[in-house]
């Protein structure tokens, strides 16, 4: 093995972003990857400090009622805030953030339009926080794979077979995220 030769493509560290996760990196060899059905992934990038991050969330489970009241925004707001706070902790500035949105497909027409609801939530959240969306690929009926180089803000989004999409579940939330109260 030669240490002089340029690093091969395999030197890329690929990190899978699972449902319920948010990760940030400035590593030049890091690539975040995720496969989305009705879930939405937000990619944030600050071009000045060259740091990026991705989250992956689901607000309501496929098959759930279409009623808007069943869409639980708390979890989406939480994962967006975790992502933004982590970006700021890495030196990013909120007013410089640029967003990409992917996913939000309605894979099965028998289900409620949960994918659409996820995408709409993400758009509204970013508008309220005044974070510009520079690219989005939302909706439709097909699963997507997203590969994001956080240090460069580069994204590749491809349609993939539905069988590659992970099972989307509401109960994969972090155990600590329960709104627990501790009075001192």
């Amino acid at each position: 093995m030669s240490y002089e030769s340029p690093p091969p493509v395999s030197a890329i560290t690929r990190i899978n972003i699972l449902q319920g996760q948010a990760r940030v990196s400035a590593g030049p060899r890091v690539e975040f990857s995720t496969v989305l059905g009705s879930c939405v992934a937000t990619c944030l990038f600050d071009p000045e400090v060259e740091v990026g991050g991705m989250n992956h969330f689901l607000l309501a489970e496929p098959g759930a009622s279409v009623a808007a009241a069943d869409i639980d925004e708390h979890y989406g707001v939480y994962l967006m805030e975790v992502l933004i706070n982590e970006m700021l902790a890495h030196g990013a500035a909120k007013q410089r953030l640029r967003a990409h949105l992917y996913g939000g497909a309605n894979l099965n027409s028998h289900f409620a339009r949960i994918g659409t609801a996820n995408g709409e939530f993400a758009r509204q959240f970013l508008a309220r926080e005044r974070i510009a969306i520079v690219r989005e690929d939302l909706g439709g009926t097909q699963a997507r794979r997203v590969d994001f180089r956080p240090a460069r803000g580069q994204v590749r989004c491809r349609i993939v077979p539905e069988t590659m999409a992970p099972d989307e579940r509401l109960d994969t939330r972090p155990a600590r995220a329960t709104g627990d109260v501790e009075l001192f």
């Binding site: 708390h74 805030e81 309220r128 329960t178 709104g179 109260v181 501790e182 001192f184």
Partner: protein, 123 residues
Amino acid sequence: MDKTTRILTVDDSASMRALLNHALTSQGFDVAQAEDGEVALEWLALNEVDVVITDINMPRLDGFGLIERLRQGSRHRDRPILVLTTESSEEKKARARSAGATGWIVKPFDPEKLVAAVRRVAH
């Protein structure tokens, strides 16, 4: 006889402010909102409040700074201040406690648990 409890929420996220406003006003609380610690101090200089609910990570003046500033004066020395944060580290919780916070709530918040906590600390 029962005066409406007035709450100031302090959070830099507009979406989080909307969730808090809905959760609290629907339970009959009078809600005022500030987007960071500095705005909260300006508002508190002119208004009365029963309970403060504050985020930690905010621009200009964060939640720790806000709690410290409120505890320095006599007017808010006994004011219930609940921290509502995505942070879960014991170190930050200990820092909030030593700064004078009344309680610590982890996001995403459960509206029922939040309201129960507010009712317990309000006086």
